[in-house]
Amino acid sequence: MAELNHYLVLSGVLFIIWTVGVLVRRNLITILLSIEVMLNAVNLSFVAFGHFLGSADGQIIVFFVITVAAAEAAVGLAIVIALFRHVESLNPDAFRELKG
């Protein structure tokens, strides 16, 4: 029987891999993708806790998280397209003017 801690460790490992993706990759689309999927790694903890507590609330929170993730993807990609029109690069270092 797989225990709660198995799932929590897996969730943590995935979360760290995506954090590395956000911090190390130099491509706006991949960074946005990694942020998006960090939510997904946390979803696994929610479902695991819900399962082991015998409650459906974990799954319902995941439902809301997925909805918010979809909204975030739409807005984030729109921002990427708007940025790309100005600089024609996806390297975040190309947007240093944004620092003001």
Binding site: E3, G12, L14, V47, H51, Q59, A74, S89
Partner: protein
Amino acid sequence: MPHDLILFYAFAAVAVVSTLLVIAQANPMHSVLLLILSFMALAALYVLLDAPFVAVTQIIVYAGAIMVLFLFVVMLLNTPREDTGDSAATGHDSTSTRAFGALLAALMAIELVWALNTTRRLGGALPGRAGADASWSVSEIGAILFRNYAFAFEATSILILIAMVGAITLAGKHGVDRKSKWPS
């Protein structure tokens, strides 16, 4: 070794390996396509956790809708191999940024190991559901969703409306010179 533990390790291995491959890809197109494999493995884990509704939603919304959106943008912008930290073009050395990022990630890894170590003894204390292998059906989830979370559900619909309007406003035509070769 019971069979569900074997399944857990198999799908966990698929998820972790495909995730690592996504991060390692230089071409964003390959990243997005490999990510679908990771989502499939996670959906299988949700099935193991008696959450078929979440598993199906995961595949339909993440692997279906969100990945199509990402693929669409990758193809629209059409920039394979942007990821070489070309310090000449930007006048900035990205190696130090990467090292700093890796350091931050390592710090968070240590933090998570510590946190998980303290939750290890929690596992036995949880009550668990009576009738262990009864999974939550969609109708049960729907009843709880509309009974206890009706306000959050309605708020989510407004959020999606705002996101839709925001995305159209951000990526729309106005305010951009018409000579730009990038379509809106």
